[in-house]
Each structure stands twice: as C-alpha cells, then as structure tokens.
C-alpha cells in the first residue's frame, strides 16, 4: 500500500523539486525520481502475494476522497495491472534518460511534466475506484498536451490539439457510463460505491441485457479512441509523428494500453451481455484495422509514421484476442499489451536516436544507416523482429495466442469458452503476419540497409548546435544502456513467458467468468447465426 | 412586508400617469441608445432609462402605499450622479484617444 503511494508520489515530489531546482539539474533529478519510483514499485512487486491467485492486493481501503458520494482513494493491484504498471515504471526512466540530449530547451518544464505524466498513469493502473481511475486516465492528457505542443515537431500544435480533444471526447462516453453505473447502484441499493469490483458485479448481475448492451457500447466507444481502434485512430499517427521521441515511446508504451486496460478492466466485466453481443462488431473493426493499417504502413515513407500506423495494426490483433472471449485470446491480449509497449517503444526510441543525428526521418532522404551505425542497426533489426513476432522474442507469444484464441473462438464449447469469432477472423487477421513482415522489412530494408543515403544539408549550422556532440557516430554508451534492458526483457519474455502466463491466467479467468453463459445466450438469440455455424462444417465436407 | 398589504384600488390616475410616463421615458431611452452613435447621447439615453425605471418605482410605491420605492429612487439618483461623473470621464478619455465621440470607433471586442 505505502509502496504503491510511494511510487506514485515520488514522481510528483520530483516534479515539485524540479520546478524550483536548477535547470541543468532537472534531467538528473528526473532520472533519479523515475528510478526511485521504479524501485518502489519493484519492491512492491517483489513481495506481491497475489501473482498466482488473481486477487487484488492490497484490499482497496475506504479512505475518503469525495465523502458525499463515497468516492475513495482506493488503490490496489492484481497481477495484470501490476504488470502494466511495472511496464510503465520501466519505460519512464528510459524515456527520461533517452531525452537527455534530445531536449535542450525548457528542461525543467519538460521533466516536470514527464514526472506528472508518470504519476497519473500509475494512478490509473493502480486505481480500484473508477472515479480515481478516471482522474488518472484523464489527467495523462494534460502533461502529454504540453509535451507534444512544446517539444514536438513542426505540426505539434495541431497534433496536441487533436490528441487532447479527440481522446477527451472519447473519455466523456466513459465518464458518462461509469456515472450511470454508479447512479444505478445507488438507485438500486441506496449506497454509493465506486469500487471496480462492486460495480462490476453489480452491473453484470443486476442490469438488464439491453442496458448492458448500451453500457458496453458506450464504454467501448470511450476506450476505442484511446486504443485506438479503427476508425477512430486518426489522432494517433499525427500525435506520434509530432511528439518528441520520449513522448512517442510513452504514448505507444503505456498510454494506449490505458484504452485496452480499460476495456479489459471495466467494459468486459461490467457488461458481459453487451460484450457478447458486441464482440463480433468490435472484432470486425479490429480485423479491418489490422489489414487496413498494415497496408497504410506499407506505403509510408516517414519512418515514425510507419511505426505509428503499425501500432494501430498491432493493437487490432491485441483487441481481437480480447474479444475472442476465451482464456487463450485474453491471455495473449494482455501479454501483447506489454510486448507492444516494449517493442514499439524501443522502435520509437531507435528512430528518435537516428533523428537526433540527422534531423530527418523521411526514408526517401535517409537510408542505409547500418553502414554508419552498426550497433544501432543491430538493435533496429532486433526490435523489428520482436515487433513482427519472431518466435523466441516477446512479440511471438502474445500475437500467437491472440490469433489462436480468435481461431478457436467458435460456437463449439469443448474449451469451456464458446466464442463468436472463429477461423475466418483468424485468417484475415493472420494476414497481418504477412503484411507486418512486409512493412517492417520495408522499414529495415530502406532505413537500415541498402546504400547509404544521408541528407544533403547535414553540415547545417543549426544541426551542429542541436547535436550536443552526438554527431553522426554510432550509439553512445548511454543509448546502448537504454536499449540493452529493453532487449533483455524482450528476450526473456520470448524465451520464458511461463511466469507471466501463469500470473495473467487467473485474472483472465476471473474476468471472463460470466462470458460462457452470456455467449451461449447470444448464440441462442441469433438462431440464423447458430444454424449457419452448424451448417458451415457440412458445406466444407462436401467441398 | 405586512401580510395584509394596504393597497390603492386599481386604476388610480396618478399611478397610471406615472407608469405611462416611465414607459415612455424608458422607450425613448432604449430607442435612443440603440439608434445613436454619439457616446454622450447614448449616455443621456441610459440616464433616461434610469429615470424611467425610477419613475416606475415611485408609481408602484404609491400604488402599494409604501415608501421603499421613493427610497430606492433617492439611492438611484446618487448612484446615477456618481456614475455620470465616471462615465463622462471615460467618454472624455475615449475622445482623447480617437478624437471622435462615435461609439463605432471602438470595436476591439469584435472577433476577427
């Protein structure tokens, strides 16, 4: 408990210290603060007793926040949220230290905002009270707005504007839904409660199916913007493209995961009837996103934009696994959230490192950098392989389980979890494997390999000033030091995912507990669909 | 106020005349305010509306046999005097800036 608050408050305190400290000390202070926060959270994780039970620890306290409606400051982790929080705490020091040379103006504000961003993301993952979750979830926008709007690329204003308004609009659906559920709870029991567990069990058991349908739709609409799902993804490429490197890393790394986490934590448990009813629609969107975004990636010339669109494609697979509504897919999905954060975050970091040297990320102007920066090229290939799901690296397990879960999510109940998707969805989403290789290897083939192409104006005075001695040489020790931990974690998850799978398993089963029944009901309510599902194998027999 | 309000019977001529005069004063004031561009004239028109409102209060005061209406009017007169001093001072300042009394010279509030 205290360690959780320590990990949240240390960055806040660091931000306060940075605000009054010397500008030159800001980056060191931020690094110390973020590492201390990671340390606190790691210490908590070390003695976390619920790795294999799926329970929430510690029991959320009733400590008052808004007394009149009984909103609390309840925080607590289960293994899934703890893993995501650890990912966040792990990425933040990398972002901070990765910005050491990239950010040269207004350093105090930059690192201060970063610390606040960190704290609010941790609040969101730790919260057990939906209102507190909302506050953490929503407050992330404020630091991010400033980080993008001040330290971003040439279109930073527009990007920040769009990011803020777009995701804010999405959050309103989410806020409306949870207020509705809280109000219903009050109307039905006479008590106010905003505890996630209480509200979930109340809503799933007491709200009629029709209400659950709309509740799920609203929550999905809210979180889909954040994920982002097709077709509400258009803020993401712009934001990624304009954000400073560290902003992109944290955006891809954990901010998007707030959306997937929200669906996993709130939408699925609160409205199983709605989830079952809407799973197919949502999955169609996911599947479209996989192919659509992958094809768009393939024709991008801007390296950063390519990786940004690849996030849309990847998260399509991730969400598809979730909507498979069986433990295989959901396990894969949760694992995929973490893997995507690691590998895409690392790719953004790498692109940022090259950008710092050349100030160009358009692959028409720059390429073949392996000749100049072999170490950079090594990491680039490594994380590309991780991103396209090479077995033995982290991407594989999550992606594979997501597709696997989708595949076996047929009406057949032999797994104990009948589903609504099936081979067709897996086949279409599976083309993402091919398309993923196509665009990522295009990136590697042009950006990393091939004949060396450097921008002509490299001797430009402004650049020399910005370089801070990084020059055009290979990665510095500091940069390698950032990438090696990421690579090691990727390798570890790829080689030995068992502890993570075992930790995620119970939580997933708990979340999906109401689903077999709900899916059965949905299947029954769609007699034509059910008949078609039965008729399908016969047709294939003939053929 | 008293639960039983002593009241003149409806249709007292003095009250009706007073109300009519106040309505005319107010109408003249508002039309003048909306139609004229000279700031001093506009200010005079606001004064007219003020006095119209004051006259209405006195009239209702008489109708209700209550002195509060007249008390308010005395307050309004003092406030109006102070306001007149302030407003005319502002008008003088504005005139010095642009050498004109037209209100149209001042449209910084317009969007774009």
């Amino acid at each position: 408990m205290n360690l959780i608050w320590a990990s949240i408050l240390i960055p806040v305190a660091t931000a306060a210290v940075i605000a009054v400290a010397n500008a030159r000390a800001a980056r060191s202070l931020a690094a110390v603060g973020s590492l201390a926060s990671l340390g606190a959270l790691a210490a908590f994780a070390w003695q976390f007793p619920a790795w294999s039970t799926g329970a929430v620890f510690p029991e959320p306290c009733g400590c008052a926040w808004l007394d009149s409606i009984n909103a609390t400051l309840g925080v607590g982790f289960d293994s899934v949220s703890l893993m995501l929080a650890l990912l966040e705490a792990f990425l933040i020091p990398i972002c901070v230290i990765g910005s050491w040379t990239a950010i040269s103006d207004r350093q105090r504000e930059y690192y201060g905002w970063f610390m606040l961003l960190h704290a609010s993301i941790l609040v969101a993952f730790a919260a057990r009270d939906v209102l507190l979750f909302y506050v953490g979830y929503e407050f992330t926008l404020v630091p991010l707005l400033f980080i993008i709007a001040i330290w971003g690329g040439p279109e930073r204003r527009q990007a920040a504007h769009k990011l803020f308004l777009y995701t804010f609009l999405g959050s309103l659906f989410f806020l409306g839904s949870i207020l509705f559920v809280g109000w219903q709870h009050h109307a039905s029991t006479g008590l106010w409660s905003w505890d996630m567990g209480t509200l979930s069990s109340f809503a799933s058991a007491r709200l009629p199916a029709n209400t659950q349908f709309w509740l799920f739709a609203a929550l999905l609409a809210g979180f889909a913007v954040k994920v982002p799902l097709f077709p509400v993804h258009t803020w993401l490429p712009l934001a990624h493209n304009q954000a400073p490197t560290a902003g992109s890393v944290i955006l891809a790394g954990t901010l998007l995961k707030l959306g997937t986490y929200g669906i996993f934590r709130l939408a699925l448990p609160m409205a199983p009837e709605g989830g079952a009813a809407l799973a197919v629609v949502a999955s169609v969107l996911c599947t479209v996103a996989v192919v659509y975004a992958a094809l768009i990636c393939w024709v991008q010339t801007d390296a950063k934009k390519l990786v940004a669109y690849s996030s849309v494609s990847h998260l399509g697979i991730c969400m598809l696994g979730l909507f498979a509504l069986n433990p295989v897919g959901a396990q894969g999905s949760v694992l995929y959230m973490i893997n995507h954060g690691l590998s895409t975050g690392a790719l953004f970091l790498l692109i940022g490192m090259a950008y710092e040297r050349y100030h160009v990320k358009d692959m028409d102007q720059i390429g073949g950098l392996a000749k100049r920066m072999p170490v950079w090229a090594f990491f680039m290939v490594f994380f590309t392989m991780s991103s396209i799901g090479l077995p033995g690296l982290n991407g594989f397990v999550g992606e594979y389980l997501c597709l696997f879960g989708t595949y076996i999510a047929t009406g057949d109940a032999s797994t104990g979890y009948p589903g609504l998707l099936g081979p067709g969805f897996a086949l279409v989403a599976g083309t993402g494997l091919i398309l993923g290789a196509m665009y990522m290897l295009l990136l590697v083939g042009r950006y990393v390999f091939g004949p060396l192409r450097e921008p002509k104006d490299e001797s430009h005075g402004k650049h020399a000033h910005d370089d801070h001695g990084a020059g055009h040489g290979d990665l510095t020790g500091r940069e390698v030091g950032l990438l090696v931990p990421l690579a090691l974690v990727c390798l570890f998850i790829g080689v030995y995912p068992k502890p993570m799978l075992q930790a995620i398993g119970p939580v997933v089963e708990r979340t999906l507990a109401p689903y077999p029944a709900a899916v059965e009901r949905t299947l029954k309510s769609q007699p034509q669909a059910a008949e078609a599902a039965k008729a399908e194998p016969k047709e294939d027999d003939r053929g | 106020m008293n639960p039983i309000d002593p009241q003149l019977p409806p249709g007292d001529p003095l009250v009706m005349l007073g109300l009519l005069a106040s309505a005319i004063l107010f109408a003249v004031g508002i039309v003048g305010f909306l139609s004229r561009r000279n700031m001093i004239t506009m200010f005079l028109c606001t004064e007219l509306m003020f006095q119209g409102a004051g006259l209405a209060m006195i009239s209702y005061g008489r109708q209700h046999m209550d002195l509060s209406g007249q008390v308010f009017v005395i307050f309004i007169l003092t406030v109006a005097a102070a306001e007149a001093a302030l407003a005319l001072g502002l008008v003088v300042l504005l005139y010095r800036r642009k050498e004109t009394l037209s209100a149209e010279a001042w449209k910084e509030l317009a969007e774009s």
Partner: protein, 746 residues
C-alpha cells in the same frame, strides 16, 4: 508472501530436464546440439561487441558446430526405436477450468528424439560444420567487417534448424521455422549495402511468411481437432481417431503443405530461392541447398500421419512437386549464372522430394534429401571456389576449361563429380534415391499420380542436360576466362557498396575491366579444399546404403531404417512400430506399393517397375548428357545456332524467351499481387488522411466553430450591436414569460 523468489528459483530449476527412465542416459545431452550453436551465436555477438578483428568467430562457430555434430553422432549410436521426449524447460504452458483436454495449451521447449530427428540432424550439423570451415576461408576478406555477423547468423541458423528438427511440438517447429527464416534473411542480405541483396532478403522473408501463416493456422487446427500440438500426444490422439472426416481435420494437411511449399520453394512460392543467391555462396550451399529448404520435406514427413488420411492432399503434394520440378528444370536450362542454375536445380530436386512425399515414399524423399544435401552443397561450394578465385565471375559463357587452370584442378574434378551425382548418373547415390521416388510414383495406389512418373523421367533428362551444360562449359574445353567485377585481391567482398551490383548477370560487364590482362586466378587453400573433399566423400558414401542393399537383398537400407522408425512412415503412432524391425514394412503406404511391384501388379512398359525405372532413368540421364556433350563441348557453336533457330520462328520463340525470363513468374506476381496491393494501400492511405482524418474528424472538429460563425454577426464589436442582442434577448424572455402567463391564465 514471497512469491517472486519462488518464480526465480523455478527459472533456475529449468536447467535440468526430466527424462524417461528407459532411455539411454546419453540422450540427456541431446540439448547440446541446440545449445552449442546458440552459445557460439552469443559468443559471436560478444566478438562483435568487442570488435574482434580476427578469425576467432569462425573458430568458435566451427568448434560449436563440430561439437553439435559429435553430439548427434553419439545420439545416432544410442537412439532407439522408441521416440524420447526431453523437456528442457517450460515455454508456453497453462491450463484453465478443469484442465482436461481442450482446457489447456502446452508447447514447451521439448526435444523429440527419434531416428528421423537424428538422421536429419546428422547431415544438418555435419554439413554445417564443413561449410563453416569452408566459409572461414571464403569470407576472410571480411575479417573485422562482416565476418562476425556472418558466423553469428550461421550459428543462429544451426540453432534454429535444430529447434525445427528436434522440437517436440509444432510450436517449437514453428520457432525453428521462423528462426531459420531470420537467419536466411540476415545471410541473404549479408551484403546489405547492395539493394539487390536487401530486396532478395526481404522477398525471401515475406514469401516464407505466407507459408508460415499456413503453418500457424494448421497448428491452431491441430489443437482444435486433437487438443494438443505435442507430437507424442498427437500421435496417440490420431491413433485414437485416425480418419476424422470433419473439415478441420481434412484441412490440416493442406495448410501444412502451404508452409512446406514456402520454406522449400515449391510452386507457387518458389520465387524467393533464385533471388536468395545474392547471399554469400557458403550460405547458398548450407541454407538454400542442403538444409533449410529441406525443412518442408521434414515437416510433411514428420506430420505424415495427418497426410495419410487425406489422399487428395497427398496427390496435391505430388503434383505440385512434379510440376515444380519440371518448371524449375526448364528455367535452369536457359540461365547463364552458375549459382542461379544450381538454385533452379535445387528447386527442381526439391520438387522430386515432394513428388516422393506425395506418392507416399517418405523414405525416398528423405533419402533424396540426404543425397541431395551432399552433392548440391558440393556443387555450390565449388561454384563458390570458382567465384572466389575469379573475382565473382559466375557467367558460364565467360568461364571455360577450368580443369586445366592451375589451382583449380581439384575443384573442377569435384564439381564434375557433383554434376554426375546431380544428373543421377547410374549407380550414384542420387540415382538410387530418385529411383525410389519414381518407382513409387509409377506404382502408387492413387492412379492420379502415375503420370508424374513420366514427368519425373523427363525432368531427369532435363536435369542431366542443364547440369552438364554447366559442367562441360565451365570445366572442359579450351582455357578461357574473364574475371568478374569484384576487386581482385579481394579487399572487400561487400563490393556492392558502389552499386554496380548483380555480378554475373549476363552481359553487363566485360570490356571495361582494364586490369583484365593481368588477372591471375588464385586457387583455394586448405580450408576450402578439405571441406570440399569431405563433402565429395559424403556424396559418394551417401549411396552406400543402397549398394549394400543391392548386394544383399535381405539387408535393409540404412536410411530406410531411420525413416521407418519414426512418425514419417505410417498413419498410426510411432509406438506401434516399436516392435517392428527395419525391413518389416507391413501396414504402410510404401510397403503396399512395393508389395504391389513385387507381385508385378504394376508394370511399366511391360517390365517390373524397378527395372523399368532404373533403365529409363539411366537412359534419360545419358541422353541428356550426350546432348549436352554435343552442344556445349564438341560444338559450342551449335548451341547458339539452335537458340537462333528457335528464336527465329514465332512458334518456338516463346520457349526460349519464356525459359530465359523465368516464365515471367516474378513479373506475374508483381502485376497481379504486388501492384494491386500497392494501389489499394495508396488508396487506403489517401482515404485515411483525406476522408477519415481531414474530412470526418476535422470536419466534426470544425462544427463548433461553424455554429459559432453563425452567430458571429451579432457580436460585431459595436456597442449598439451588443445592446440590440441584449434587448432582443430580454424581449424573448419577456415574450416567453408572457406566454407562460397567458397559458396559465387559461
């Protein structure tokens, strides 16, 4: 309370895996065959880190691969008829619900060691070691540059290939499958500053990915049908329910096939292999001829129980194999780049292997894999030695009479030996293995594949022709050569930096080499010669099992023994064969075929199939060689004249142009798949940016502003304007109040 330390200790405990009690203790070391290449891979990475500028990486790799080979040799001695599963550590494994069947998924890092595994690993590690030794000299001009990277990738390749072959479940196979793909990608793109190499590497990876998707889906289906993807449990499940008629079970072989066709370069996915020749020659020999491309054959052989129940799928495999063999042979006849010719011949020979699988002789296919591995590696390596000595020259029109060039006699002799083997000259190893396949094709139960026997014979003749076209042109005849465009003294093999690319693409170079006159080819030294000789010995010895069987009919073919006692030979569980001796072949497809031929049930041209195929095959081979002898040695002008004649007539012109331009398959794919996809992608990108983002999203974003603009005239900045608005507002409120009042009054 303290669960995390427990997690850590379980990580440490995975070092020792449990083992069946009855298995030989040596089997415990099977994991070494994987660990050693992995170790050398890691050490190469460290070498790269430390910027080692010596041949240390090569030494490490050779030592590790040699160790792996020794391990496999040791295993060969002890591996029994019962497969042994060795669990190294848990990888993906968990259950849900009541943990019954279909309530859990297990894919651990297991090794499944049976005779087929060991047989396959034997030539993989053996050739791997020899080719690494060869490469240590071949790549020496890159010492300090790409040398470490090269050997690191070779180590990764051997590790992944080990996972593929020894893995105990389909997910492990998939790991190896993708791992060899990665190694192949890295090695094809070894000269990474050369755009062709990068493009070829990318193409190889992507085309393989198409197959991989099939493999992945097959894996899901397997689980869905049988509840497991582990071989041992899978065989049991199949035995329990052998011939499921559900579409799911029927679809598995088709999807597996897709994966196999991708990796083994068969129609329609073969297009990556010729381009893969952009990689250094040892890579072509090791990965793209001897080992990796046989992974598809291994996959189908290993999963044969799933194929046996589906005759349609088997026939499809046979036909794809046969047609690929034919197509690739015709292309190979018309190419001029020595490596490309060998590449097409690899595709063609792989076609034979699939033909063999399709007609049910996993033994024939595996035997052909085995013999092919040696002679094709030999041919590639000799081509590499030539290329190494002649500054990258590979054009068969610009090399002649190398047998008489000092320093190249040994290489030339070995190359000619390889040619005889590839042409399946009577009583060479390949003759026997090809014979096995063709006999099965003629005698197969399934009538639909009999025609393939004849196609196979035609391909045999074509093979002999194009093989000796290279052999006679390059190694015989008058001494004449032009160096390639690599800088002599080979300061740099990665010559492609200056993008004069495509060495050996015909006709692009020649006259502009001023130093042509002073060019002196240099012969290879021992590190190239020794592997060449050893591989040649291997190629000769590969026929040994057949010689012994020929002399003594009761003695079973050694390779057959290896293949029979595995999952590759029947529809049931491997265990059911535990009691069978090697030559006891009842209850399997091939045995059926052979019995049939023993009964003279299948006659080919009135002769018993074996005799007929032997004679016809010899005839085809010798005919091909004789044609080649005339056109390419005795009267070289005749070949050009023939070409001119064919080109002269409209009716025959397409044959030459088609074969030389590889039947336009690449172009076809480009037009039919890549370009439309590219177009769609561009359209989608435009839709995303213009319609979705700029149109809908920004449009909705502009809505509030538009509404504001509607009321803007009211706030023109003039005081009276505001006053009118206010007065109007007051009037509206007043009107509303009056309206309410009037309504109330009613």
């Amino acid at each position: 309370m303290i669960a995390a330390p427990a997690m850590l200790s379980s990580v440490l405990a995975l070092a020792e895996g449990p083992l069946d009690a009855h298995a030989a203790p040596e089997l415990r070391w099977a994991g070494l065959a994987l660990l050693l290449p992995l170790l050398s891979g890691v050490l190469c990475l460290l070498c790269g880190w430390m910027k080692v500028r010596s041949k240390l990486p090569a030494a490490l790799t050779i030592a590790a691969l040699g160790g792996a080979f020794a391990t496999i040799l040791r295993l060969q001695g002890v591996v029994g008829e019962t497969p042994v599963v060795i669990n190294l550590f848990d990888w993906i494994s968990w259950t849900w619900g009541d943990a019954s069947r279909f309530h859990g998924f297990t894919a651990n890092v297991d090794l499944y060691v049976d005779r087929l595994t060991v047989f396959w690993m034997l030539f993989v590690t053996g050739l791997g070691t020899l080719i690494a030794l060869y490469a240590s000299e071949y790549m020496e001009s890159d010492v300090g540059k790409g040398y470490t990277r090269f050997f690191g990738a070779v180590s990764i390749f051997l590790f992944a290939m080990g996972c593929l072959v020894m893995g105990g479940n389909l997910v492990m196979l998939y790991l190896g499958w993708e791992g060899v793909g990665l190694a192949s990608y890295l090695l094809i793109g070894y000269y990474f500053t050369k755009p062709e190499a990068v493009a070829a590497a990318k193409k190889a990876f992507i085309v393989n990915r198409i197959g991989d998707l099939g493999l992945a889906l097959a894996l899901f289906l397997t689980w869905q049908c049988y509840g497991t993807v582990e071989y041992a449990a899978l065989w049991k499940a199949i035995e329990a329910a052998p011939a499921s008629s559900e579409w799911t079970a029927q679809a598995i072989p088709w999807l597996l096939m897709l994966g196999a066709f991708g990796k083994s370069a068969q129609l329609p996915l073969y297009v990556w292999l010729p381009d893969a020749m952009e990689g250094p020659t040892p890579v072509s020999a090791l990965i793209h001829a001897a080992t990796m491309v046989t992974a598809g054959v291994y996959l189908i052989a290993r999963m044969f129980p799933l194929f046996v129940v589906n005759p349609d799928a088997l026939a499809a495999v046979a036909w794809v194999g046969g047609l690929t063999a034919l197509l690739a042979a015709t292309i190979g006849m018309a190419q001029y780049d020595m490596k490309r010719i060998w590449a097409y011949s690899t595709i063609s020979q792989l076609g034979y292997m699939f033909l063999g699988l399709g007609v049910g002789t996993t033994f024939g296919a595996s035997y052909h894999v085995f013999t092919h591995a040696f002679f094709k590696a030999l041919l590639f390596l000799t081509a590499g030695a030539v290329m190494h000595g002649f500054a990258g020259q590979l054009d068969i029109r610009k090399l002649s009479g190398l047998l008489k060039v000092p320093g190249f006699r040994l290489v030339s002799l070995l190359a000619v030996l390889g040619c005889f083997w590839l042409a399946a000259f009577p009583f060479t190893a390949a003759f026997f293995s090809k014979d096995e396949i063709l006999v099965s094709a003629f005698t197969a139960k399934d009538e639909r594949v009999h025609l393939l026997g004849w196609i196979g014979l035609v391909v045999a003749a074509l093979t002999a022709y194009y093989t000796f076209r290279v052999g006679f042109r390059v190694f015989f005849g008058p001494v004449k050569y032009e160096p390639g465009d690599e800088h002599h003294g080979h300061d740099d093999h990665g010559h492609g930096h200056d993008a004069h690319g495509s060495h050996g693409s015909h006709g692009s170079h020649g006259s502009h080499h001023g130093h042509h006159a002073e060019f002196h080819p240099h012969g290879p030294r021992w590190a190239i010669r020794v592997p060449l000789v050893l591989i040649a010995v291997g190629a000769i010895l590969a026929g040994w099992p057949s010689y012994r069987t020929m002399l003594n009919h009761d003695e079973p073919n050694w390779v057959k023994t290896q293949v029979v006692q595995s999952s590759a030979y029947q529809g049931g569980s491997a265990d059911s064969h535990g009691s069978h001796a090697g030559h006891d072949e009842s209850s399997n497809e091939v045995a059926h075929a052979e019995q049939a031929h023993a009964d003279h049930g299948h006659l080919v041209l009135g002769m018993d199939a074996h005799t007929a195929v032997g004679r016809l095959g010899s005839l085809a081979c010798i005919a091909g060689i004789l044609v080649s002898l005339y056109l390419h040695l005795i009267n070289r002008g005749a070949a050009d004249a023939l070409r001119r004649t064919l080109m002269g007539s409209i009716a025959t012109r397409w044959i030459v142009v088609g074969a030389e331009r590889k039947w336009m398959v690449d172009e076809f794919y480009d037009w039919v798949i890549r370009l439309p996809l590219r177009l769609i992608a561009n359209i989608l990108s435009a839709i995303d940016e213009l319609l979705l983002d700029a149109g809908i999203v920004n449009g909705l974003g502009a809505l509030p502003a538009a509404v504001g603009r509607l009321f803007r005239p009211l706030y023109g900045g003039v005081v009276q304007g505001y006053a009118v608005t206010m007065a109007g507002g007051v009037a509206l409120v007043a009107a509303w109040v009056i309206w309410i009042w009037l309504r109330g009054a009613n």
